[in-house]
Amino acid sequence: MHFVVCIKQVPDTAEVKIDPETNTLVRAGVESMANPYDITAMEEALRLKEKYGARVTAISMGPPQADSVLRQALSMGADDAVLLSDRAFAGADTLATSYTLSKAIETLGNVEPVDLVLCGKQAVDGDTAQTGPGIATRLGFTQFTYVIEVERIDPDKRRLQVRRKVEGGFEVISGALPALLSVELELAAPRRASLPMLIDSLRTPVKTWDAKAIGASSALVGIKGSPTWVKAIASPQVHRAGPRWDAAEGVSAAVSAALDALFSDEEFAAGFVKGWKA
């Protein structure tokens, strides 16, 4: 099998600040790191490789310095690493990014078909969680988001079963390969590289591919391929926790107390009555 892991270089979020005037992230002078969710994806890819046998390729789109996150992947045990770097890729939103990454995965697949793409559920700098699903959609892969456990891969039947996080619980689903997983942090604690692997990773040349190498259309990558524009960045309003009613004295007593409190708000009561009539 062939697994591809997508890794993004992000600013060390412990230090990220937002420029109050321009509403953009202040990146100058901030250290970078590999997106932690992506490193979890890398770890899972290696564990699956150990269990089922596979080749693991790590890819990243970013400036030349982003090769450090790929070296980290190599030191953990990736077999190969490709950096997608081209001036034309700069300024990409999730649409352009998922296009670029999917073109790279296609290119890799031309040499050795890709069975599984793994990525983090989201990047800690943008928090959009859109890139993974975007890649799956473009490649026509089955997508499994918010994965907390890969229960089984059946290489012969070409099926995969995972446990994913949903609100209030989890869900076990299975689907066909090729597939894309976007993973949660609890999936797998990343390993620490051994000394020989770390040394090797520093010596392994990281391949760099530009737009041409992956056959990407220049109109669809980078800022040109990014219809998103940021109007404003705002912190969400913090809602204070509402009042609570203790149900120790019986549920119905608690519910009626809650309803009394709600309807004592005249505006709410008026709205409710209006809605009821409609």
Binding site: R192, S194, L195, P196, L198, I199
Partner: protein, 434 residues
């Protein structure tokens, strides 16, 4: 097959990287092991590097974008009493021109990383986030490599250079040098205070890119044997203070309280007014001088920089001693490579090289200086106020005849420090730096 390196260097500070640059330049297979996430990530110093020393290793450092903060054009020394300050400043046009970058400020996080990148470009392997936990030895006790905290972490090398700085748990573990005693190190804390570039230019009276160093002595160290400093960076000011570790223990003063007091002193506070503290770090300094320098080599290993206690406290020179010792260690390793002998018989040439260089010559010259400071605590207690009071009396203009006011000044002085003690002080001071 297990890989073997020619040279393994512990620590990517100025000493280790200097050696790595020279060795890699000559095609030696060299690896540097650094515990920080990247070189410099955990390191701190006052901030002054010396261009001529760096130039011995990277001659075109300025063209190679060495992250210089400010070229130092003025050096000040201030002696602070409770409320007063006596200062001496020297600025010269030469520091703008032919002596440019004689001294300049840098931040370690940026500089160490840049310096390590130079070594990498020459072919050295710099491995970070890896702690050397012990030395590997053969049956005869010869050092044959290092142990690290990673899986499969033993690494073999023909020679090991210990450049792991002053606070070396490795020394304690492997016993390559005695552990330092509290009386022989200083504990220093430093704050980085962010200020706009133009504000710094204006407050220190310098043009863009140029800067000032200010060493500060007196009772700011609360009677402890220590110094403080303020150095200018491009968009920040480094302010720090340190004192002998056993003095700290004895007096139960907390370092952060001391730096807060310093920042409130009337001579200091205007310099940092409205600045935003952005960093606070503590570090040790090897202050014991010549007497504490350990045996610098053994079978299969050498020691350089702070790890070898090579620090000149009087002149605030450490990075340059680290670089020079790293360079001389590299030269010795090159000889050993040629001979194919890494026993102390060959490596002892390192000791001789250091003796012939300014490194040990200077430390030898000032060998009495550490004990001078220890035995003359009045420098940090009564003397500052005495001198201040005397000067204040002389400078007060109120129709008192000069003879009377001069006598009063002397009285102010001697009431705080006895004349015999003063004589002693001057005599011992002269002897300690002669």
């Amino acid at each position: 097959m297990e890989e073997k390196f020619d040279a393994a260097i512990v620590g990517a500070g100025p000493a280790g990287i200097s050696a790595a640059c020279i060795l890699a330049d000559r095609g030696v297979k060299v690896i540097v092991l650094e515990r920080g996430e990247y070189p410099g990530s955990k390191n701190m110093f006052g901030g002054v590097l010396y261009g001529r020393c760096l130039g011995r290793i990277i001659p075109d450092y300025a063209q190679k974008n060495c992250p210089i903060e400010r070229n130092i054009v003025e050096s000040r020394i201030s002696y602070l009493s409770e409320q007063g300050s006596i200062s001496f400043a020297y600025r010269d046009h030469a520091f703008f021109e032919e002596l440019q970058n004689n001294a300049f400020t840098v931040g370690r996080a940026k500089f160490d990383r840049w310096f390590a990148d130079q070594a990498r470009a020459k072919g050295a392997l710099v491995v970070c986030s890896t702690v050397v936990t012990d030395l590997l030895r053969d049956e005869a006790g010869r050092v044959i490599g290092v142990k690290t905290d990673r899986a499969d972490g033993d690494l073999r090398a023909k020679v090991v250079l210990l450049a792991d700085g002053v606070n070396s748990p490795l020394a304690a573990r492997s016993g390559f040098r005695p552990e330092v005693r509290p009386g022989k190190v200083a504990l220093a804390v430093k704050e980085l205070i962010a200020l706009p570039e133009e504000v710094i230019d204006e407050r220190f009276g310098v043009s863009a890119g140029n800067g000032v160093t200010n060493e500060i002595l007196g009772n700011v160290t609360a009677g402890m044997n220590g110094v403080a400093f303020i150095y200018t960076n491009r968009r920040s000011v480094s302010i720090g203070i340190g004192a002998n570790l056993s003095d700290f223990a004895r007096q139960r003063v907390r370092p952060y309280e001391m730096i807060e007091r310093l920042k409130l002193h009337p001579a200091i506070s205007p310099l940092i007014k409205d600045g935003k503290p952005t960093e606070y770090i503590a570090h040790w300094l090897p202050e014991g001088g010549f007497e504490t320098v350990p045996k610098l080599f053994g079978d299969g290993f050498l020691i350089a920089g702070d790890s070898a206690m090579l620090f000149n406290a009087l002149h605030r020179e450490g990075s340059n001693l680290a670089m020079a010792s790293g360079r001389l260690a590299a030269a010795t390793i090159l000889d050993a490579m040629e001979k194919g002998d890494f026993s102390s018989r060959t490596l002892q040439a390192y000791g001789a090289r250091l003796e012939e260089s300014f490194v040990l010559k200077d430390l030898k010259k000032y060998r009495r200086f550490p004990s001078f400071l220890e035995t003359h605590k009045e420098l940090f207690t009564t003397l500052p106020d005495g001198v201040s009071a005397a000067l204040r009396t002389i400078l007060t203009v109120d129709e008192t005849p000069k003879k009377t006011s001069q006598r009063a000044a002397w009285q102010a002085m001697r009431s705080r420090t006895a004349p015999l003690r003063l004589l002693h002080l001057i005599w011992d001071a002269w002897r300690s730096i002669r």
